[in-house]
Symmetry: none
Subunit: 399 residues, 2 copies
């Protein structure tokens, strides 16, 4: 069955702004409310009072999403249908222009003992400079079988991105990272016949790398999350929207780019994000603004920093609202409650504000207030439908 | 598409307790609230205050579930996909060890007149002792075609279980019970070609039984609910949980056993259920506790007895909570409002309590309070997802 929303889209000049506070959702504990509940957010509260609120489950009830799944859902791509694996996200994170057919994997430089057993899965978290030196050395020296190209792109510390480019490659390869120390890495193994050639190419590459890295602290590499870029429907075609992604972290820009959005350079601050929004306002229909600090603070278990991060976004809200979007939606891509210090399954609050959204009785932006709003409890993938509807972009369904 | 939850399960040593008060849900009438609303439940209220609440539709909105469907849903098996027929439930109810390929049916001993017309579909509700005598007589005397075994197990009064065991049997047989008096029973009829042999076997059995029962008040039997045990995914494999079912009624133990749970002996009281929970606490990860009195009282239209039954469970709650489960969920498998005196489609309240569940603003355990809780309105099959999530048993979905 074709998807409903793409089948009834039409153009409009009313603009959509989606503000994603990463890991926004929290939980009340016996001591106090969630971070949002405790935050001072007069501007978000005003939007809640003038608009409509709800909460969303990101993937499905009780399911904790990764960042890729969370963002796909907010972009209206059902994350149970469309997938972004670890390799793809790594590529997105270093702004690598992954092409259809490429096979990407996440690399961990590691340390093996003399018997070839993993003694440190992160090679003592080698400095990024060492990582860069090793990636350069390997890329220059590795010999590849006919027709295959290899890219090895350093990330931070011990992490890197490996990409193979060539004909007839397949990502159906098991992780070589054993996940524990004291045993040897697994050989690259195909999980389906069409990946046999890829497994062989990888085996030859790893043999050479083992020799090249002899004597280094990082004397081998572990691979996981083999992945190919999926043929994701392009955002612009799907929604007839000219879209721009604005973020500080390359990974979120990378996800936006995978869907075909125009993206900003990585912003150095939230102020720069807002500045980019203003300066590009006339040129796009849809703006995705990503704010990372809420998630980082939640993962660090730092309640006060997460609360302060929410308040920072709140301060910027009038500048966004004053641009006059057809709909402004503020939400998160998942919950990262600071008491849990990780992503969680808890529903995430959202608000929508704009001339046709309608006003409900909610006057405060937090989980507990939002739950009682007009939107009730939704799946994240349907938020895009509401944004499209609120900007007049969906035709009537049925005669 | 494979099911999501089984694809991301992992182990944890945090324990799950599910307390099912059968037929818990009720309705407010113009005179008063539901049984739960009127019950004095200080312990459940405390759990509601410290945890999160919601209501669930068991199968789908507006659908009244049977006991099998209700329990499958609470165990996380979508009752629209997985089914337990009447024959299976009868077998479960008498602890009959039904095997794959067996065909089971519910038997009603009945009374026919001289022309072979049904005059009493329950044979005057013959005493259970008569039932036992007749089942024994028939089992000993019946002659079966090569390779087929027959089991006839007495239940209470006029009810029994018939099981055929052999090669190439099929449950695709129409009920012989006409459902009304004054006409002759229908012959065993196959509804698909693969059941022709089974229909023939049944016809020969019924011919013999008609002769054997000549002169008895119960002079024939009506068959309905032909069914075979479905190849249900085992609970342990599906969830990596070592599970125990504890109940007073054999049928609920039987359902638990069908999923591969270890089960208690039928408990003689709710106190014995709690005692079994405590003594087996160290040996299992998941406990299903079944409480019947709420449903029985609701079916009898006895509001006060149902309320008192809820209060009995409430008194035991501290003993369960003190064991320190990772999550304790209290709910029902459907509603049995005493004003209606039968199962109904009305949503059922639930609460979840545990260190990572989160706290909402609900401070009372009843339908009206629960609806405003964090969980909002869910499908029963998703409750298991929440319990798995709250005990750290689900990996992040997507990278």
């Amino acid at each position: 069955m074709p998807e409903l929303v793409p089948s009834i889209v039409r153009r409009s000049d009313s603009k959509i702004v989606l503000v994603v506070m990463d890991g926004l959702g929290g939980v009340r504990t016996s001591e106090r409310g969630s971070e949002i509940t405790e935050a001072h957010t007069p501007n978000l509260d005003r939007l809640a009072a003038e608009g409509s609120s709800g909460v969303h489950s990101v993937v499905a009830p009780g399911i904790t999403p990764g960042s890729g799944a969370g963002h796909l859902a907010l972009f209206g791509y059902d994350p149970l249908v469309y997938k972004l694996g670890r390799g793809i996200l790594s590529a997105a994170g270093v702004a690598f222009d992954l092409r259809p057919g490429d096979v990407a994997a996440r690399v961990n430089f590691c340390t093996l003992d003399e018997a070839g057993r993993v003694v440190d899965r992160r090679a003592g978290r080698i400095p990024t400079e060492t990582n860069e030196r090793l990636c350069k050395m390997i890329t220059e020296a590795v010999k590849l079988d006919g027709g295959v190209e290899m890219f090895l792109v350093p990330e931070r510390e011990h992490r890197a991105l490996l990409v193979l480019r060539g004909m007839n490659l397949s990502p159906l390869i098991r992780d070589t990272d054993p996940g524990v120390v004291g045993i040897t890495p697994d050989p690259p193994t195909a999980t389906a016949p069409e990946a046999e050639v890829t497994a062989l190419v990888l085996t030859r590459i790893l043999e050479q790398i083992r020799l090249m890295l002899w004597g280094e602290q990082a004397n081998f590499m572990l691979l996981r999350g083999f992945d190919s870029v999926q043929d994701l429907p392009r955002f612009e075609e799907r929604y007839l929207l000219n879209a721009r992604g604005i973020a500080s972290y390359p990974m979120y820009l990378g996800i936006a780019r995978l869907l075909g959005m125009a993206v900003s350079a990585p912003a150095n601050s939230w102020d720069e994000v807002i500045l980019d929004l203003k300066s590009s306002w006339d040129y796009y229909d849809y703006f995705f603004l990503h704010y990372k600090a809420t998630d980082s603070a939640g993962e660090d278990g730092d309640f006060d920093r997460k609360r302060a991060a929410i308040e920072q976004v709140d301060e910027s809200i009038p500048q966004i609202a004053d641009l006059g979007p057809g709909v402004l939606c503020v939400t998160g891509d998942h919950s990262t409650p600071s008491p849990l210090m990780r992503h969680s399954w808890h529903p995430v609050p959202f608000l929508m504000w704009g001339p046709t959204v309608g006003v409900d009785t909610v006057t405060r932006f937090d989980e507990e207030a939002a739950r009682l709003g007009n939107f009730g409890h939704q799946l994240a993938r349907d938020l895009m439908t509401f944004m499209m509807a609120a900007t007049g972009r969906l035709s009537t369904y049925g005669a």
